[in-house]
Amino acid sequence: MKNCAKILSIYASDTAGVCSMLYELGGMTIVHDASGCNSTYATHDEPRWYSKPAMVYISALTEMDVIMGNDAKLLEDAARAAKELHPRFIALCGSPMPCMTGVDFPALAAELEAETGIPVLGLQTNGIGSYITGAGKALKMYLERFARLDVQKNPRLSVNLLGATPLDFSGSRQIGAIKEVIRQSGFELQSCMAMDSSPEELRDCGKAHVNLVLSASGLPAATYLKETFGIPFAAGVPYGEKFAEKLFRDLRKSAEDGQDRISCADRPAPEKEKCLAIIGESIGAASLAAASEESAKIFVPQALGPIFLQEQDSVFADEDEIEILSGKAGAILADPMYQPVIPAGTVFHALPHEAFSGRCYREMIPVLTGKNRESGVQLC
């Protein structure tokens, strides 16, 4: 049955995606919600919560506010807090109850912006979609609002990284390693959206020649940057050495010819069905498959909005389907919380994914990029 699980975990929600993507950009993100969205996000989805303060709040919605349609309280509370905390911008997004009552976040954003003079992004999330959609919408809307149109191209070959959040890359180590190999390959890093980059670096993203889309949540921004600045993209995560080299070649070609390249989809079909299968987010899993020493396919959850799939790849809607699919694979590489539904006899390799298992296995997440990559996955 779709949307149902006896024992599996669930991927982070769209509101977590919004908060995660905007976390380091100096804004105030407000989830219009009663209680749980912020503590869930802060506890399970946000490794930066303890050591790197950011303005992420809930509106503390009450029953009476919902019944009476009292959006004014949200606006007043947001304006009062903003007056004291001076955020660079405000982002409003919604949880299931506002979705049910049809709260119009773009309209609230316009009203709050008129009141405060601070730029406000109104994101129509609902706590139902996945983090991919929330993070994707948030980054695209942020760039639409703040990316400078009057920039000159960097004289050096430069790149933006799109779709970087701890939900897919956990702490700074993974993104740090990716940045390092990119620089070592002769690219100048314009920005990383949105980890360990300043708002100014994002604002000047139009200086870059090419974008590297690291996860599906970077794709809406990539599309926007293509349309607005003509910046092409390549999609993939530079896992291993050979795939990273290919990815960087693709990036260079894209910078030259302006064509987008789905590097992670450029994988040979496995010769046999019982091969390694990697479960996860489309671009990350496909990049691992491309970088794997053995031929591999990917299984992508329907909830994560599968993209760039190849013939050998599959989409699954629920626990029952992944159980059946896994039975046909030779081995599985996935978050440890998938293991209970993997049939006995199928070899299981654990690779924690924060968007699925939260902080349960955070310390086990390896760096899979660069020469100093850690063991856990056999990459070439």
């Binding site: 049955m1 949307n3 149902c4 699980a5 006896k6 024992i7 975990s9 669930i10 991927y11 929600s13 977590a16 380091e24 950009l25 100096g26 407000i30 919600d33 209680s35 749980g36 503590s39 869930t40 996000y41 802060a42 506890t43 399970h44 919560w49 303890y50 050591s51 303060p53 950011a54 992420v56 709040y57 809930i58 509106s59 503390a60 009450t62 009476m64 919902v66 509370d77 947001a78 807090a81 004291e84 001076h86 955020p87 660079r88 949880s95 299931p96 109850m97 049910m100 609902n126 706590g127 139902i128 996945s130 702490g171 700074s172 360990d196 300043s198 209970p340 298992s357 939260g358 349960c360």
Partner: protein, 442 residues
Amino acid sequence: MLKSLAPIPVSREIPAVSIRDAVFPAPFASGLEYSPPARGAWNIVHTGMLIPESHQIFICARGCLRGVILTAAEMCAMDRMSWTAIDEQDFLGDGLERSVLEGCTHILQKMQKKPRCVLVFFSCVQLFAGVDIPALMEELKRRFPEVDFVDCYMHPTMRKSGLTPDQKMRVQLFDALRPLPIRPRTAAWIGNNLATAQNTESVDFLHAHNWELRDLPDCRTYDEYLKLAEAELLLTTLPAARPAGEILAERLNRMHLHLGLTYHPEEIRKNMTILAEALHAPAPDLEKEEAAAEKALAEAKKVLQGMPISIDYTATPRPAGLARLLVEKGFSVERLYLDAMVPEEEPHFRWLQANAPTIQILPTVHPFMRFAPRAKTALAIGQKAAYFDETPHFVNMIEGGGLYGFRGIAELAKLLIRAEQEKKAVEQTIRRKGLGCESCLL
């Protein structure tokens, strides 16, 4: 170490109020809320897991599911947690009803061995849509007659209308109990997440009069849980548990006594008198216990040497009462971290206003607390106080720690001494959810 790349110009103003000027019961206006990273307090998942051999099924949106599922995961109990995610299509027609029936049925059909009891958790969405929950529960019982179904609620939107989600959870926790013949001289604690300490004077008193005591946290099987209904007398100590005791007593036609957790000697003695009257026995003389508590507090005072103390509302539901006790015994209480107080706190709050007016009350969820400068010098009672004061010297305690009566106070005095003498790793300690529960986090 993470570095801040986007410095945020924040207000340096601490949203504190002197207790002299504070309003009871809610000193701060409601507004946007922050979530401080102290996770020791229990949530509805932890509490529900107290029923042995039970299984939980949550039916709500992804964003709401994520927190409860990972709560179960972190307490290594995913084999007792299932879910059905609501999507936008479910808002149409009978989608919300179908998601409950089809989801629960599908999950239970997949189980080779059915659980004895299933807690079905509904969320704000079903309540607002007017879903007929009793009818759904009846249908589930018809489909799986061998299973006891209990409707439970994750409905934070309604937290200010009627019972809070915490109170409601403690009520529903005993919903599967069915009337049983009374077992004479048996009492049960109701609604405590943590087992009540065995060495309290009230426990001794009950034992001395040949009463058997039962407590849900001590139950190891579902049958033991069901036998809580044999109790002749139901006892509650926590404000959040009081409705559970009252409702269960009415349903089972039992006597209920609320012997509220308190740190005030007169109230402790009054509780004992109420208990003694119910047992038709003379109230015991608690002079020795009171003297022992005073001696323990005097020893703690000597060790702490005027060290500033802060107390938060997660450590005890009676922070003002505890502050009063400590002030009366000469301790230096400087800060209370709380957002609201229970009605029972009013006389102690008023006493503090008159006798310790400079104590500061600070909120825990106010948005400015995200950037509030830390005191760094205090001994904290509670995880949130430890976090905000950034002190490794803290009593790691929730819900009163199961400490009760004069002996509970004596035990608390020992914990104060230990907190002064030993440092705890704040982040590693307070990040674990559900203090006292198993945790997969290191």
